[in-house]
């Protein structure tokens, strides 16, 4: 057993941290947030570091990075509070193509993801769906005679409906859209995933800020015609693909949260060591010391399971994968709330300000908690794995063997 990062991983981490600390300062980020929302220069900079190629398989111009490589990247992007569409494009988007795309999709799209020339966004959430990605009402109707159907090309589909909180939807060139092609709103079967050109006729995208400094969009599709070649994975069997990609996304978000919490803890400790009240630094007050120690423990526990998730996300064993992913998001969620709230509290009035980075980190991790399933969602999913008991017994057996 070895928890050390490889030399390449350490180099990647160092290079990325150096780039972000020089080029993506807190002030620079503030300008981006209050401007167009993303920075072309930063995107180019990240692409030059090879970041978009990390998750892309080698035959398509990438580095065939592992889950652990992605952990390294996401931790640093978290630490740097980066608001660029990396998660939408290189984490979620690339995973959809990698796990669900045909050779043609991969050849056409992945090299452009790897070199930074193509941005993707995933349109999965609907107003009624909350954390259930199988709660899909946007309809995909196969070709036929009525008005909606006639919009579909030969053998294709016509897409109608709306998605909400599509992360970096407006900044993307292509949208990956989940649609109901058969069955009822909450059925797990009957969902199909499509790649849709954002510029296609019938696609409307309404861009807005998110409270954590990112961008998201409401996307409406009206009679958008797509061919069979737009389908990722199999018709009506898209949910398995969505679940698989969501696992990749959750592992990445947990890593990002770890990066954010590392920064929050450092900043809070620094504040406790410098802020004086009653003639002493406030870090001398035992109630604050204990709270800082709790933050440290929360962070370490969340980090441990983020590591586990980063290794297991690549596992071929579906049960093992799900277990690690759900556990990581639950543990991250608990840490997020405690670490974030404690950091603000111990900064006093300063913690409430837009001026200090700590409030921005707090907002970001709080929204990570609300993305791709919150603590309760993953707790229920973990419990429903049903094999908790068996696994424990098996592990105990393995340990004593």
């Amino acid at each position: 057993m070895d928890f050390a990062f490889s030399e390449e991983q350490t180099q990647l981490r160092d290079a990325l941290r150096r780039y972000l600390s020089q080029q993506y300062t807190f002030e620079a980020r503030k300008k981006i947030i209050h401007g167009s929302g993303t920075s072309d220069a930063a995107w180019t900079g990240l692409a030059e570091l090879g970041l978009m190629g990390v998750p892309v398989p080698e035959p398509y111009g990438g580095f065939s990075g592992t889950g652990v490589d992605m952990l390294v990247v996401m931790e640093e992007l978290g630490r740097g509070l980066v608001v660029e569409p990396y998660f939408a494009t290189a984490v979620m988007g690339a995973a959809f193509i990698k796990h669900g795309g045909s050779d043609a999709h991969k050849t056409a799209l992945l090299p452009n993801v790897a070199d930074g020339s193509l941005k993707l966004a995933c349109a999965l959430t609907e107003k009624q769906s909350r954390h259930e990605l199988h709660n899909v009402m946007l309809s995909g109707t196969a070709q036929g005679n009525d008005a909606r159907r006639s919009a579909a090309p030969d053998n294709g589909f016509s897409l109608n409906g709306s998605k909400t909180v599509v992360l970096h939807g407006a900044q993307a060139d292509k949208l990956i859209v989940s649609a109901r092609t058969s069955g009822a709103a909450r059925d797990k079967s009957g969902i199909t995933v499509f790649v849709v050109d954002k510029a296609a006729a019938g696609v409307t995208v309404h861009d807005y800020r998110t409270i954590d400094g990112m961008r998201a969009a409401d996307v409406t599709l009206v009679n958008v015609g797509v061919g069979r070649d737009a389908v990722l994975g199999k018709v009506d069997e898209g949910y398995a693909l969505i679940e698989r990609v969501a696992q990749v996304g959750v592992a990445a978000l947990c890593a990002e949260a770890v990066g954010c919490m590392a920064a929050i803890n450092e900043q809070t400790i620094e504040y406790l060591k410098t802020r004086k009240q009653f003639g002493v630094v406030i870090g001398k007050f035992q109630s604050l010391q204990h709270r800082a120690a709790e933050m440290f423990m929360e962070f370490e526990q969340a980090r441990s399971l983020a590591y586990l998730a980063s290794v297991k996300v690549d596992s071929a064993d579906a049960g093992e994968r799900a277990r690690a992913i759900h556990a990581a998001k639950v543990r991250a969620g608990r840490a997020i709330r405690f670490v974030g709230q404690s950091a603000i509290q111990m900064h006093g009035g300063m913690g409430m300000t837009d001026e200090l980075a700590v409030s921005h980190f707090f907002k970001r991790i709080s929204m990570i908690e609300a993305t791709l399933g919150d603590t309760d969602h993953h707790l229920a999913a973990f419990a429903a794995l049903g094999s908790v008991q068996e696994n424990t017994t098996a592990q105990a057996a393995a340990l004593t063997a």
């Binding site: 954390h131 998201a216 009653f278 006093g348 009035g349 409430m352 300000t353 709080s366 609300a370």
Partner: protein
């Protein structure tokens, strides 16, 4: 022990409710219930409506425009206002500087300021905290030097709530830097239009503009604006902090928000059911509701003790106010936490341009901002850590 309100109390409640129904403008109510941001004009118009009825300062003596209500009636009034969704009556004049002027001010000050506080002519703000003096308030440095019939004030206040609207600020200033820190502080009333005052907004993490820095650069303040005696300001400040504390638990407001939380959660789906039918979530709401029930009973116990004390001519609540502040803010913060949890990924959109108008967007739009904003409640008004220090020292004797 009798835990029911008397028939007279219930009749009083009905009277308040009827009046609120008739006088609270629907648009204002919708803004409050919808967690939208209110303008100065909106706060003021409600203040004036309540003042015209004679109910704006229930805590004041009748001779200065108070209502003569019992502690229980005051509590009922607060609860009804909160339940209906009235704008808050700003505490800085009515609940803070007013009682100090009444207790320690001279006749001229009382006659000049109190009616203007009552009718809303002057908007007051509180100039206590400084960059280096928050929890350790007594270390404050803003200097006031006596020159003839004026004080010359130099220094800085911060976190000053709604100073951008204010006509007047009451300040703690240092008049004697040589003595023990509590003994060199004075209580000054300063006109915000005085030359040398600069107000600079502090943007909070929810991008609101509710707090400010206030800078004083050789500001001339007439000596008649001093409250009581020079260097006795700390005593007056402490009196103020101990005044009218049962309201800080904000039980009425939390009851309203609990109902709101349930209505929001009922509209969310999980497992094909409403979120309120989901045992995990419903149990959390139940837990919170139980905490709120306990808090309400605790508040009523304090109110009742206050009534008994008042009947014997004694003063209001003591250090138990700290308990109400800590538990009250914990409940308020937990409510906002569960609201954000209820709406899942829809917490993310930040439609700050809709925050001034409930007709824009949806009821859930401001909830994440509300959550972030309410982290302040455990920081201001004496942080919850400081309240716990007070309890350990003053109540537990540790």
């Amino acid at each position: 022990m009798e835990l029911n309100y008397t028939a007279a109390d219930e009749a009083f409640r009905a009277e308040i409710r009827t009046w609120l129904n008739a006088h609270l403008p629907a648009d204002l109510q919708a803004k409050v219930l919808g967690h939208r941001r209110l303008s100065k004009q909106e706060f003021l118009s409600w203040h004036k409506t309540v003042a015209a009825k004679g109910w704006v300062a229930p805590g004041w003596p009748v001779e200065w425009g108070g209502t003569g209500w019992t502690p229980t009636q005051k509590h009922i009034f607060d609860e009804e206002c909160a339940g209906a969704g009235t704008p808050q009556i700003m505490p800085f004049g009515i609940a803070m500087v007013g009682p100090v002027i009444m207790r320690f001010g001279n006749e001229g000050q009382k006659r000049h300021y109190l009616p203007r506080i009552l009718d809303g002519t002057d908007w007051w703000c509180q100039g206590y905290s400084e960059p280096g003096s928050g929890s350790d308030l007594a270390s404050l440095k803003t200097r006031a030097e006596r020159r003839g019939d004026k004080y010359i004030v130099n220094g800085q206040k911060t976190w000053t709530t709604l100073a951008q609207h204010a006509d007047m600020i009451f300040c703690l200033v240092r008049t004697d830097p040589e003595v023990k820190k509590q003994e060199g502080i004075s209580f000054l009333l300063i006109n915000m239009k005085s030359p040398g005052i600069t107000v600079r907004p502090i943007v909070t993490m929810d991008e609101d503009a509710e707090v400010n820095e206030v800078f004083f650069d050789n500001v001339e303040v007439p000596v008649e604006n001093l409250i009581g005696e020079e260097n006795k300001g700390w005593t007056y400040a402490k009196y103020l902090l101990g005044h009218e504390r049962t309201g800080i638990a904000r039980v009425g407001g939390s009851k309203r928000e609990l109902a709101f939380l349930k209505s929001v959660a009922a509209e969310q789906q999980v497992d094909g059911k409403s979120l309120m039918q989901d045992m995990r979530f419903a149990s959390k709401v139940a837990d919170l509701e139980i905490e709120l029930m306990a808090l309400e009973m605790t508040v009523l116990r304090v109110v009742s003790a206050e009534s008994h004390a008042a009947a014997q001519g004694k003063g209001g609540p003591g250090p138990e106010a700290s308990l109400l502040k800590v538990k009250g803010t914990e409940v308020q913060q937990r409510l906002t936490e569960l609201m954000v949890e209820a709406i899942g990924p829809r917490a993310l959109p930040f439609h700050v341009d809709r925050f001034d108008d409930p007709a824009k967007g949806e009821a859930i739009d401001p909830l994440a901002a509300y959550y972030f904003n309410y982290r302040k409640t455990s920081i201001y008004g004496g942080s919850n850590e400081i309240q716990k220090n007070i309890m350990t020292q003053m109540i537990l004797g540790l």
